[in-house]
């Protein structure tokens, strides 16, 4: 507390000089009350924040994170080899195959479709080769009676073959042969 200022303030508010001195002394005594109050308990402090910062904002953040993650996975489903989202697609497929063995047929359809789209958009041989290799790997040990899926793969690969470069055509032909064996 600034003494001269307070005296001036009291005088300007209408106090006489003697009264101003007395009131200043009183003000000094009042200022010594600081610390006379019961201490602010730390245990209480700990429960101040949960209501403001705690459960709901954290739940909101978690929900936003989950929504963002779901969105990325959903968008990744249309990605092709070479895209930064493609590993997300592959991971989500692996997870799905762990929980639903029948999902392998869907994965096989994805690969065949990717091969067709890569060839159609004239992506590099390297990507087409990698996609075909993935197709073969994913299909190892697959015993499916899902003939609709096999037909879908067959059609996509045939279409891809019709647009492919000679090198790609040879690789697609090899995969088609294996596919036909699976059908038989």
């Amino acid at each position: 507390m600034n003494k001269p200022n307070l005296k001036e303030e009291l005088l300007s508010a209408g106090a006489g000089p003697v009264e101003a001195d007395e009131l200043m002394q009183l003000a000094m005594s009042v200022s010594q009350l600081k610390g006379a109050e019961p201490q602010y308990t730390k245990s209480h402090r700990k429960r101040l924040w949960p209501a403001a910062f705690g459960f709901w904002p954290m739940l909101g953040t978690a929900a936003a994170g989950l929504a963002a993650g779901t969105l990325v996975v959903a968008i990744a489903q249309t990605s092709l080899p070479g895209s930064w989202l493609y590993p997300v697609k592959r991971t989500s497929e692996r997870v799905a195959m762990l929980t639903q063995p029948d999902y392998k047929a869907v994965v096989m359809m994805h690969r065949a479709q990717e091969v067709r789209m890569l060839v159609a958009t004239k992506q590099s041989d390297h990507l087409v080769t990698a996609a075909l290799s993935d197709y073969k790997t994913d299909m190892q040990g697959l015993k499916t009676k899902n003939y609709a899926a096999l037909d879908y793969c067959h059609d996509n690969l045939v279409q891809a073959g019709s647009m492919a470069t000679p090198v790609e055509k040879q690789q697609i032909s090899s995969v088609l042969t294996e596919l036909n064996q699976d059908k038989d």
Binding site: E9, A13, G14, L23, S29, S31, H44, A52
Partner: protein, 171 residues
């Protein structure tokens, strides 16, 4: 504008919380003389400040927090008004106990002063607490109360005069 941006960040808000929580508690304590209530109101002050941080339009964060605390206190008194002991003539005086000698000793004077402070009208109590216990400037108090510095000077003069009278009545 800088203050506003600070408040929008949780970390910075927590800094303000750490910095002012005890001052807000102290202010509320001297208005209520109730430790538990003051702690609850302190918590509510920061909760309300956090929720309303977007509405902070700049200026002193400290003044803004005191203003919120005072509004909460007003709401609290308004709810309790019908059962306040001070509204029952004579009863609060009986509960106050015997008078305390003004010059008995420092501790007794502090007790008497603390008691006298709580008997001041609300607005004068707020001004006294902020100016003399919290050491805020007349300008800061004016900002909290939404009034002029000149009015704060008049209020503090009245508060000290009434405080003196209350102390003398205990002699």
């Amino acid at each position: 504008m800088l203050e506003r941006n600070k408040l929008l960040s949780r970390e910075q808000f927590e800094d303000h919380y750490e910095q002012y929580e005890e001052a807000i508690y102290r202010f509320l304590y001297w208005q209520t003389k109730d430790q538990a209530l003051s702690q609850d109101l302190t918590a509510s002050t920061f909760e309300r400040a956090w929720k309303a941080r977007e509405s902070f339009t700049g200026g002193s964060v400290k003044a803004w927090l005191y203003r919120i605390a005072r509004n909460l206190l007003t709401d609290h008194w308004r709810k309790l008004k019908p059962v306040l002991l001070d509204d029952l003539p004579g009863l609060s005086d009986q509960l106050e106990g015997p008078g305390i000698d003004y010059d008995y000793d420092v501790e007794q004077v502090q007790l008497a002063l603390g008691r006298a402070l709580t008997r001041l009208p609300d607005k004068l109590k707020v001004v006294t607490t902020l100016r003399f216990i919290e050491g805020l400037s007349a300008r800061e108090v004016a900002e909290i109360l939404g009034t002029t510095e000149g009015n704060v000077r008049v209020l503090q003069y009245r508060a000290l005069k009434q405080l003196k009278q209350l102390m003398e009545r205990n002699e």
